[in-house]
Symmetry: C2
Amino acid sequence: MTAADASPLSDLNRARAEFRDELIEAGHLVPSSIDGLYGRSGEFEDVIELIDTRVRAAGKAAHGSKPQRFRFPPVFPRESFERTDYIASFPNLTGAINTFSGDNKAHAALLAERSEGKDWDHFLEPAGTMLVSAACHPAYSMLVGTLPDDGVMLDVYGYCFRHEPAVDPARMQAFRMHEFVQVGTPDQAEGHRNSWVDRGLEVLADLGLDAAPEIANDPFFGRAGRMLAANQRNENLKTELVVRLYGDLDDGTAVVSCNCHRDHFGHTFGISTADGEEAHSACVGFGMERIALAMFRTHGLDTSKWPANLRV
Amino acid sequence: MTAADASPLSDLNRARAEFRDELIEAGHLVPSSIDGLYGRSGEFEDVIELIDTRVRAAGKAAHGSKPQRFRFPPVFPRESFERTDYIASFPNLTGAINTFSGDNKAHAALLAERSEGKDWDHFLEPAGTMLVSAACHPAYSMLVGTLPDDGVMLDVYGYCFRHEPAVDPARMQAFRMHEFVQVGTPDQAEGHRNSWVDRGLEVLADLGLDAAPEIANDPFFGRAGRMLAANQRNENLKTELVVRLYGDLDDGTAVVSCNCHRDHFGHTFGISTADGEEAHSACVGFGMERIALAMFRTHGLDTSKWPANLRV
């Protein structure tokens, strides 16, 4: 064993690679040529649905029929993306979509360069769309204007994309997030976030997972991002529910995120409360693939041996 | 009324815009700033699930537990995309994903140009991934090698992207496709395609839809594409199940597609039959959003008034 192999980082990366390989070997994930992109087996999807049954039940128990259900596709308008300032905070995670808009002649030139093994991306142009990075992002543009007295609560669930290739199976480039979002007064938003910390822990405990809340920050990019991250922590805007997939090798993996956005979306999308103030928003996001992975890690790779109340 | 308004094309476009506006007014679709991109209401999703229940039942009745279920995310490796030659046949529908891979200095330059209202795409680079254009495309790379005697049957279901902004709500840029794919001998593949023409018609009839089979072709790009399209028709490789959403204003909307790929995927992905030949493949793809739209068109916008066996 070399010194590098013995370092904590190497142990962690080895543990991640082993878990990934076990999941692939068991047939739960299908590898691809890209780190962080996997096909899911039918059984993996059954686990996702089992988790979602619990998430839906928790939402219904807490909020009845108040949450308005919306499902957005994995791409959304660039115009909405531009409003969120995501390119300022997370440029490295961004997915911008390009397409070919040329004529026959340009296409022939593209194919000629491609057949010579050359890059052909310079023949493409922006398609007007971006990949969705958080399930709630496409929702805010539909709330432009003035909210009712008790604000609006949304139930959104969809695929998200973040460009962060990694060996860790818990860091996927494409994954699903189920969110409950409250948009309204500062109190309504903060109350929503706070209430879902305990509620999220209950959902995870019922799934047999040992989770703990942690004050956290988003991975804002670069030097300027370090200050944004520190502010987010100091102001207690983000609480993650964390499960230790790799024992003491790291600080655990966030499987649920409870976030106060302050007036970020209210301001940028022009959403007002009934009394004319800029709306605040907050969300709880269940990371569906990460919760599934935590269940495989906790209960084993063979779902037929899981506790009876968790059989898929 | 002007002469232009009275033309068939204008009548068709008006009918499409009216249907889209009705769907939005009824709350089933949420518009965005981009043609062909919509949020879906919870009720719309319930209709999708109703349809999928019937699709799954038809698959089970026909094939038992033979189909292997896989679910792929909406992005897949560029390496796999390159093998399919999609950029040669459908460049205009392609979605290539770009991201930012630069440092602090490049990011500052990006933000400076952006704040001046300039284009910032030239700061981005290919991310190694592409949007999935047909649900089965990410599946073939996992079949590389030699198949068992009776081939492989896959059940795949996922989001697809095609860059074709349109007023017609039935032409979405992002939509779901549920496919049963047979990979094996030429007879196995062709038999699979043929069997699903009648079976698909039954599924649609059970949903109360009046559908008819039509020999069809893919919308291959450009001058060279016209010959590919003619060949596809002449060789009877594509049968679409068509519902008339707009009466006699057009030839109808394909809601299910039954396709013989010949050895296209077997050849490009290196998939062999048990006797060492290049594998053939065929698929049936249910266009989930289009079937839902056909149901709204046929049974009305108020699902509480749908036939009892179709209540969501």
